[in-house]
Every structure is written in structure tokens, then in C-alpha cells.
């Protein structure tokens, strides 16, 4: 802790952690069926869907943010839908950031889980079927536990990636305290305002955080590679 950290900074840190936690939760729920389907389907749709899921990996976040701003705005298709439902429009709200983060971090959740499902192969599920486990039962009692390392990786990567999100927030955030002002935009603001001391503290914190995340990930993957065949 340092005297450089004012209240606004703590609020931004708190908001960032909330955003990352909620994004991770939503992503785990969304990514599991998607990853399961991608891992097992032979459908012609598999390749295009996999490509769409991977898009946020290569697109500049500003592209994503710009399209979200336009699509979620009152003249955009999604914005007209949310207005029609009486929810207002999503840009400049926490909900909007959450939606943006879920899209932005989607590949970081789907791909590790998908690879974990693929690594299991068909054999354990076939064995479960011969023991008269239904497909749902087999999924929950065989596939999910075996894919646990994939879920851990997905959770850690989604969380960390959302913490580091900048371009999307910048485009659709509006810098509103306790709604859309997160750590990464706070750092940018400090640098622009020539408040280098605060920028250093926050940036160093981000570097340390990211290092710890990647370190734990690599320790974790070493351990899980010993478990998995």
C-alpha cells in the first residue's frame, strides 16, 4: 500500500476485480457447452464457429469496442433490442462492460476447456455408457472431473485477461466512477495527466499480478500433465 493510492484508485481496483470475477463466472457457464460441442461435433459449422470464438484473439480490442459502441447504441440493432425491452442502452454501464468482457475473453475460456474435453477422448464416456450412465450423468460424473485442469486454466486466463482489458473499456466505458472506471483506464488516465508516480504504482501492481497468474498457471499445468496421460 502506498500513499499514492487515493480512494478513486481503490474503487477502480474493486470494480476491476468485480468485473473480472463476474466475467469469469459467466464465461465458465457459457463456454462449457460450447467447448463440449466444439470438441465432439462433426458438423460443418464447427470450423466457422471455432473461428468466430477465436476472433477476439486477433482483433484489436478497439475494433471490438467500436463495433460494440455502434451495435449497442440507440441506432444499433442490439441497442434497439435493449431499448425495446425497456433496459435502456448498455454503453457507459457496468452491464455493458460485462458484455464486452465476456466477448473479449471468450476464446480464453472456450479453448482450454475444449482441449481438455478433446484430451479425454471417447473411451471413458463409452465405458461410462456400458456401466449404464446416461449421457448427462456421464458428462457430470466423468467428463467434467477429467477436464478439471482445463477449467482451472480457463478460469485463470479469463480472469487475468479481463483485468488487462483496455481497448473495449475505453471505447464503451465513458470513465464513470464505480461503473466503468477500471484499473487499466485509470493507468492510462494517470499517464496522460502526467501523474507518473500513481501510474508506476498501478502498472507495477499489474506486472506483479500478471506474473503471479502466469506462474501459477505454469505450475498448475506441470502438475496436471502428471495426472493426465
Amino acid at each position: 500500500m502506498s500513499p499514492e493510492f487515493d480512494l478513486a484508485t481503490w474503487r477502480a481496483i474493486q470494480l476491476t476485480l468485480e468485473l473480472a470475477s463476474l466475467t469469469t463466472l459467466i464465461l465458465l457457464v457459457l463456454a462449457t457447452p460450447l467447448a463440449w460441442w466444439l470438441a465432439r461435433t462433426h458438423s460443418a459449422w464447427r470450423a466457422p464457429v471455432a473461428a468466430i470464438v477465436a476472433l477476439p484473439l486477433v482483433l484489436p480490442p478497439t475494433v471490438l469496442g467500436f463495433y460494440l459502441l455502434v451495435a449497442l447504441g440507440p441506432n444499433g440493432p442490439l441497442g434497439q433490442f435493449t431499448l425495446f425491452m425497456g433496459w435502456g442502452t448498455l454503453p457507459f454501464t457496468f452491464g455493458g462492460l460485462l458484455l464486452g468482457s465476456v466477448i473479449y475473453s471468450l476464446p480464453f475460456a472456450v479453448q482450454p476447456i475444449q482441449h481438455a474435453f478433446e484430451a479425454i477422448g471417447r473411451r471413458p464416456l463409452e465405458v461410462a455408457a456400458t456401466l449404464r450412465a446416461g449421457p448427462v450423468d456421464a458428462f457430470f460424473s466423468v467428463a467434467l472431473p477429467l477436464a478439471r485442469p482445463g477449467f482451472l486454466t480457463a478460469a485463470i486466463l479469463s480472469f487475468a485477461h479481463t483485468i488487462g482489458e483496455f481497448g473495449v473499456v475505453l471505447m464503451i466505458g465513458g470513465n464513470i466512477p464505480q461503473q466503468t472506471r477500471v484499473v487499466s483506464t485509470q493507468i492510462y488516465g494517470h499517464v496522460e495527466a502526467l501523474e507518473y508516480a500513481q501510474a508506476h504504482w498501478l502498472s507495477a501492481g499489474m506486472v506483479a499480478f500478471s506474473f503471479v497468474v502466469l506462474l501459477s498457471l505454469s505450475l498448475l499445468s506441470r502438475r496436471s500433465s502428471r495426472i493426465l496421460p
Partner: protein, 261 residues
Amino acid sequence: MNSEMTLSVTHLGPCVRRLGWVLGMATAVVANAAEVSVAVAANFAAPMQAIAQAFEQDTGHKAVLAFGSSGSFYAQIMNGAPFQVLLAADATTPEQLEKAALAVPGSRFTYATGRLVLWSKQAAGVDANGAVLRTGSFRKLAVANPKLAPYGAAAYETLQSLGLLQSLRGRLVEGQNIGQAYQFVASGNAELGLLALSQVYAEGRLSQGSGWIVPAHLHRPITQAAVLLKAGRDQPAALALLAYLKGAKALSVMRAYGYEP
């Protein structure tokens, strides 16, 4: 296929010779002319492009422009960016560069004074007196971050002068710079914006939508200062550009874009 290839190879010789001749001529012309690299505040992008074109025609020097925020430029110049001239959005950034011995002392001057506009994309969105701010028939008002952008600070000062800051605070959305604030309005996500007049003004009138040019007494003047940086010391093109900015041609371009010289 094959004959085409022979054809292109036989033509290559004269082509290369001609290219060499063109390059030689170009170098001869450039011998007197030089390049000046200029860091330009984003709000001044449009007029500066017009001024740079006229500058090149009149002097033969070429101005290479980079657009960005004054804060980013400050950080970059502190860390060795090779800009020769800075046209900032404020008066403090050039002053600080001079204090840090990164600018040539005494070269600083105000090249333009900016005006603020309350702007809407709709033709009837803003009335002639800006009364829409009081009637409050809008959901969001976009401004630039007051800590980072002088136009953002002027926007807050204006709302303060009008006694509306408290009641409208909940409807303000901030862009990190004036360009982003404009984007919020242009994309329809905010009905109104307090923007730089230069963003929506060309050839002496609003290019789109409706606006109220905020009376200058409602906020502190938005003075934008230029400074000669260390890399531009004794560079003829840099000195020529700074002189050109004070000339009649540059001033008339600035006026057409809504600046007061």
C-alpha cells in the same frame, strides 16, 4: 506467359534508369527543402492538415504530422521521441517541456484559442441559446476527461458557470479525449456533447447537426501553445513552420475551423 515475362524484363532496364532520374530530380528539389516532424494535438488535426499543405506549397518544406494527446506526446518527448515542433492542446504542456529543458527557451507562443460547442447530430437537437441543457430533454452529455483534455476542463467550467454541474453530473459520460467524446455523440450513444468547435466546424459553419457555440466568458480561455523542441533547434523547416503558423494564411484556416487566433 513466357513472352510477357521477356517483355517485362526487357522493359525493366529503361524503367530503372527512369526511376534513377526521377529520384535524382527529387533529391535536387529537396536539397533546399527539408522535413519537419510535428506532434499535433488531436483537436487541431483538421486545420493542421490544411495548413501543412499550404506550408509545403509556399515553402517547399514538408511537415510530417503525428496526432495525439498532449499528455502522450509529453511522455514520448520526455523519452526521446524525435519531434521537432509540438502544437499542444493546452499551454501547460509546452511550459513543462521548457522547464524540463526539452524545448528551446523563448520559442513558446499561443498559436490558437479554441472554442467549445454544445453539439447534437440532430438538426433540431440544440437551440440557439443552449437552453436544452436546462430543459434536460436528453439522457447523456458527452465531455472529454477534464484532467486530460483542456476542452473537458472547459466543459466542466461551463456547466459550473451555468449552475448545472450538480444536476447534470449523473448524465455526463467522459471520453479520454475530445475525439472519443465526439465518437460518443456521433454514434448516437449520447444525444449531446460539449466538444471542440473545430470537430464539427468547417468553412465557417457547422458541417452537420446543430450546435450552440458556448460564449467564451463561461470558461477559462482554451489557449493552445506551440513550442520548438530540442530536436528542432536550428532546423530551418521547423523555424519556418512556427513562423508560418503566425502568418495570414494559417490564421484564416484556423478561423474557418472555428479557432480564434
